[in-house]
Amino acid sequence: MQIEFTLNGRLIYEETSDDETLFHLLRRKGCYSVKCGCETENCGLCTVLVNGVSRLSCSYLAARADGCDVVTLEGAQKEAEEFGSFLAAEGAEQCGFCSPGLIMNVLAMEKELDSYEEENVKEYLAGNLCRCSGYMGQLRAVKSYLSRGENRNEC
């Protein structure tokens, strides 16, 4: 079947099989930031934004992306670089395998949450697993990223 969607700001027409996942389609289109860590919806590595909402591309049908706006890390370079610098400053990355999924979910969180209280942030990111960092460095990085340059709610 043929679908039409926006990928990182570009309109795409693409042939997809009826049961292909968005994850496989994105890899075919060269979005190698999108990774598959578990394929059982637990790790968050495959997170992308569909119409601004964070979704697990490993379980999202490509057919459903028809007419949607899809953003991967490749389409959020500026934000990714900025957040990446906070990760680096906190030593919150070792292998970096989890970072693309984490970054996409942090970007979604930044738009969605009204309050960045620690519990809210932790809960929002609970679906992004990391085998290296122990999470505390990531949490510090997220906190400083969210409160950069402004007096936001407690964080």
């Binding site: 009826d18 049961d19 059982t40 919806e41 979704r55 979910n105 679906g127």
Partner: protein
């Protein structure tokens, strides 16, 4: 992973229902459960184009479309206003936000999973299931029915004045629950729902006057259910946890009443 040959985005409930009468078809909602199934089907019938993804609030009830996601349930202001904290508590430990942006209320209730937080929660409320052919029936009745090829269209939760609270215990924060409990109360009755025993949630209806002491009342409630053992915990442990959580929920409800 589930494989199928044809993807059909249904344009009407009638079309979805007709397609679903074939054993080789399957309804696709959030696809989160289906995705981890090892099944091969001819046709996947997608319900996402039918406008079933909202929560509507009227004077008498909340009407929740089958395709409403768990995240929508979690953050819906009207639901949170009427049942403070309830839906947040029963959804917040389900995997992660990205997961809850996909998994649906319809898939959760239709599946009648033995681990379901959503079923446990809704069973303690005055909840009805609207089926395309089967009409509107109480959730408790739906739970005891065999799986069939009908389509769950909406969930209806009556505003009957019940207050309700939810608690679950998990080995790790986002694992399946080891035990899940929801208690609601009217003036003279407690509705106690216990799931993840590890079997699908069931309901016990108990008079608040049956015992003076909350601990005894909670033990009585926990006695209503059968518990099983799996690698998450033994039947004895689950029963003990159920009594403890139900007691705590009774106490929260009593405190709220002042």
């Amino acid at each position: 992973m589930i494989r199928f040959k044809n993807y059909v985005r249904a344009e009407s409930l009638e079309e979805a229902y007709n397609l679903n009468q074939k054993k080789s078809s399957v309804i696709g909602a959030g696809m989160m459960w289906l995705k981890v199934q090892n099944r091969i089907k001819m046709t996947l019938v997608d319900l996402s184009g039918l406008g079933l993804d909202g929560v509507e609030e009227t004077e008498e009830e909340f009407v929740i479309g089958a395709m409403c996601t768990l995240r929508q349930l979690e953050i819906h202001k009207g639901l949170d206003g009427y049942f403070p904290g309830l839906f947040k508590e029963c959804t917040r430990s389900i995997v992660g936000v990205q997961f809850r942006n996909g998994a649906t209320v319809g898939g959760s209730i239709f599946g009648r999973f033995g681990f379901s937080d959503i079923l446990t929660c809704m069973l303690a409320l005055d909840t009805y299931v609207e089926l395309y052919k089967g009409g509107i029936i109480p959730l408790e009745e739906f739970c005891s029915q065999k799986y069939n090829r009908d389509i769950l269209v909406r969930i209806r939760i009556k505003k009957d004045g019940r207050r309700a609270f939810y608690a679950s215990s998990r080995m790790t924060k986002t694992d399946f629950p080891l035990i899940a409990c929801c208690v609601s109360a009217t003036d003279d009755t407690y509705y106690v729902s216990v799931g993840a025993r590890p079997a699908k949630a069931e309901l016990a209806v108990i008079s608040r006057r049956e015992r003076e002491d909350v601990e005894e009342l909670a033990a009585l409630a926990a006695d209503h259910f059968r518990y099983g053992t799996n690698f998450r915990g033994s039947a004895e442990y689950r029963k003990h946890l159920a009594a403890v959580y139900v007691k705590r929920l009774f106490m929260v409800l009593d405190r709220e009443e002042g």
